[in-house]
Amino acid sequence: MWTLIQIELYKIFRRPRTYIAFVAIAALISIIQFGLKLDGKSYADFLMKDIGGSMEIDGNIINGYLICYIMLQLLLVHVPLLVALISADMISGEANMGTLRLLLSKPYSRTELLLAKFFASTVYTIMLLVWLAILALFVSMWIFGVGDMFLMKSSYVVLISQNDVFWRYAGAFLFATLAMITVSALGFFLSIFAENSIGPIVATMSIIVFFTILSTLNIPIFNALKPYLFTTHLISWKEFFDLKVNDSNEAIMGSIQNPQRIINSALVLIVHILAFLGASIWIFNKKDVLS
């Protein structure tokens, strides 16, 4: 099994397409960091326009922690496309190149082959998020420094103490990894139905866009559906950055406003991963690869 995973990883990282995602993330993050380094004050002033009328804010708001949060908000919407580029190609790519039958002639079961491919695409997804974390968090911390994290929600602001931030990012990135593995599992599932990569990649993105729109629409008829859509739970990493307050409205350090929501979302995503993977194995084991 380990040999199979190694072979699949070799195949993934041998293709130039794999590195598009890493280059795209690096380019996007660099351009945002460059812009904020040059004109971060204007951006901060724009953000503070509303609150600045009644409150005086002293200190470095545009620090590494806030910049990482801004980038995660922007990028985690687009990273699914980069994940789908590889995961949706895992089976369909083999079919397209005509190597699927050859692959299945090896002395391994179809389940083993499929699991090896899924684990390999999961490793790619994890590496992509580690790359994102290095550039968005650590490089931003290095360029902009660290400090308290000042977050503006739509109806309130949250101030998180400097020494209470890092573990939240660790949690947020772990959660984001789970979310992206769900996307990877969806792309992987769709790839068993096609004989070229474009179809499953576009289908994965279309499903994500469609469900995301349903998740964000505030139409009562769709509200009952929302908890079951995996796209509703992809953004639950943000919950790590909301604090509980006590009776005197003092934020409690080390707390999370709604930890149950994170647990529920993680469970929903895990169920989706298992469902997509299970369905992939079940369908692929029945698939006629001779025609």
Binding site: M55, G59, Y156, L159
Partner: protein, 231 residues
């Protein structure tokens, strides 16, 4: 007619005398505050504002005559009511451009106080009216309500301890009215369910803003560089 004129004169004179008395009291309080040319204080700040979730923070406060004031929070970011905390006692009575009127007596935290209303004589003054509750025996301002032109009305309550001889409080409770805060979701990129945001907002709503600073130590008259006050 003659009686009426005499009555009016006596009434006016009595008011004048009272105002003079209060000016003397204010002058005594000012003389006490004048003992301090600068100070640096360490304390803890608690922010209780309807739309802010902030933890208890360690702060350093700097003051230098006549009205330089800076509050720095450990870790970097502090949120304070606009123009508010800088309105400290020394700043309020830094000038003599006011009329001090007696407005009765009151008990603040178990201490008898004289109520004095300060009306600025300078039309360009940012402060419209200040009401001081003065502990006459110790020459300490226990409470101050300040109405400003731009930043609304602020209330300060002060508790004194070790540094009362300088007129410096151990604890300041600063109350003010907050405006509603709302940012479009497009800016915050908050596309989660609105029910959650609403319940959070409701929980935080309808409260008067309050900032509480508890000082643990003062360093008085040791000199502070002007650079500290540059933001």
């Amino acid at each position: 007619m003659k009686k009426l004129l005499i009555s009016l004169f006596v009434f006016h004179f009595s008011l004048f005398t009272h105002a003079q008395d209060m000016t003397t009291l204010i002058a005594k309080v000012k003389a006490k505050l004048d003992l301090v040319t600068d100070y640096e204080a360490v304390g803890h700040m608690k922010t209780d504002v309807s739309f802010i979730k902030a933890p208890l923070g360690k702060v350093k406060v700097y003051f230098k005559k006549p009205n330089k004031f800076r509050l720095k929070k450990e870790g970097g970011i502090s949120l304070l009511p606009k123009g508010g905390v800088s309105v400290n006692m020394s700043s309020i009575i830094a000038t003599n451009e006011f009329v001090a009127l007696a407005a009765g007596e009151s008990v603040i935290g178990g201490t008898n106080t004289r109520i004095v209303k300060l009306l600025p004589t300078n039309e360009n003054s940012e402060i419209v009216l200040t009401t001081l509750y003065i502990d006459e025996a110790n020459l300490l301002v226990r409470k101050a309500i300040t109405t400003t032109k731009e930043n609304g009305t602020y209330e300060m309550e002060m508790n004194y301890g070790n540094f009362s001889k300088y007129g410096l409080p151990d604890k300041v409770i600063f109350s003010f009215n907050t405006k509603n805060y709302k940012l479009p979701k497009g800016i915050t990129l908050e596309f989660d369910d609105s029910e959650k945001s609403l319940s959070d907002a409701q929980k935080l709503k309808n409260k008067k803003g309050r900032v509480e600073i508890t000082y643990s130590n003062y360093i008085v008259n040791k000199g502070i560089a002007d650079a500290i006050f540059v933001k």
